[in-house]
Amino acid sequence: MAPNNMHHRRTHNLLLISKLLNQRDSGSPFTLVLDSLEQSGKPLVGEYIRRAKVSNVQVIFVSLETIKTPHEDITFIPAWDNTLQVWQKQIADSLKVHSAQRKLLVFDSLNSLSSSPSTNTQLPALLSSFISPTTSLLAVYHTDSPVSSRQGDAYSPSPVTLLKYLATTIITTHSFSHVRARKAARERSHVPPSFGLNEGTEGIVQGLGANGRESLVLEMEHRRKSGRGVKEWYFLPYSSDKTANISSKTHREIVSLLEDHPLYRSAPPEDAGDTANGGESETTFELGLTEKQKRDREGVVLPYFDAQNGGVEGGRILYDMGSEDDFDDEEDEI
């Protein structure tokens, strides 16, 4: 029952993440990446862009905090250097070019937009104005950067709350070493450790193990068109060797479920699997029962069996006189 369920979930969710990352069938028009200092969303954005280039999707990178893009062959719009009207027009212009081609619009950080007084209230409207059947949106938001409340309305929800409602997929990034440390603590019933800003130690900005070199963990929440949500944790290996990945990419999915990762997989299920399958053969004793033994065992009538059938009121004493017992009338009368 359980392994079958797991198998089904694995197949289904791996197909889903592959569809999302490859931008197939416009699976998610608006993907929001929530990252933190402990795990930057940049490798995930890089993965999206790499796959977009493989499948011939045009990438438009709107930069609000990046000076020079590390990716080649993409349309780069340095929005931080321009006014809202200027870069809005630049985006609109680049969306018009080859309008039939599928496009991926990337925002490297929404934080400055959501804290600037001119854009914070209309940010959801601004972003959704870019989305079209051929254009999907990928935006990063740094969750640990507080929004300046200088000009904000104290009673309206924060821009990120609105964005979370709007987004069709929300991916939160975690550092693999931190996820493992938390799990190890949980398994020993310890308090899970905090990292970076949450450590609460003066002077600490980032935790050790932040921004792991080889991999990151994605916590995904995807909303289907029906409204049903799918939640899953994935493991994304990260490699700077871009050329090697592209060739192998078309054949094999590199993302896996977090539970399937050898360093994360918990020990107990593995043990359970062992006893179920090969446990019997590992001992010289026959621990099972033969058919006859089973039948005999079923035939045994347990003592006091009739008491269990009910129908007998109160404290009746069930006692069979043995031959050695000496029945005493007087004692019984007392």
Partner: protein, 294 residues
Amino acid sequence: MSSRNRIPPTIEPFLRLPPETALLLFTSTLGCSVNWATTRFIGNLITQTRDEEGVESQDEAVATAAVLLVSWVRDGAYWKTEVRRTMGVDVDKAALQGRFALVDFLRRPPSSLNGGGGGSAAGEEALLAEMERSIVSSLEKLRNVNNAQKVVLVLDNPDVLLALNAVSAPSLARFVLKLRSQVYSSAVICSADAPLLAAADAAPEVPPTPIETETAAFLVQQAHNARFVMSVRELDTGAAKDVSGVLRLTKGGSAYSDEDEQQRKDGLTELEALYVVQRDGVVKVFGRGSSEGA
């Protein structure tokens, strides 16, 4: 070569010339100053240009580099003494050779700051524009001497502008970006005391004040864009005679943009170690539990 010995070998790779457009973030707390590292960073960049025909000629960092230091809370005299004391480098001489320039906003504060324009959008605009003008003019002067050299911009405590309520965090971040785009690479020095970062907490007990929010937003954003974050803090167990503090080097959010192989080759991995600044200015970095001399 003498300058090389003044830098602890463990952290030497971090204080070399950063790759193009990279940002280094140095953070300190009130009880623990990071200036021993920043002066070494500055001195290292200036001296590396002098070693051009020297031993490390195969290294990219040997290419001529200059430092443009923009200081908000410390004056020229401080930097001059400190760089000489820690690295044995004469800043004045380097300035004459066009390898060092200082924009001293402590001694010569921008006039817009005095005008009391702080807080309003127009005042903020004028202040940032004025500061940008003076920084860019110093940059031009450096470029006039030697156009081929790679200028590294060092911003010393720009977060004081937030504390003065003169600018907002998004404007200051944009200001830093504008400056960064005009130089080869840059470093930002910030304070990371607990109150300045309290607003970055997911669920603060008390609503943060505007200044707390602004400083936290600025610092967190810089860390997101940094290649490496070098932060120092006091020892958890209190002051000690033979330990000045704890040094932590972590990868910032932009560590992904340059090649992993390069970082590995340079020995750029995260680390946490103790350090001690001795009376004569010599710094030793050592692991927990090992003896100071290690």
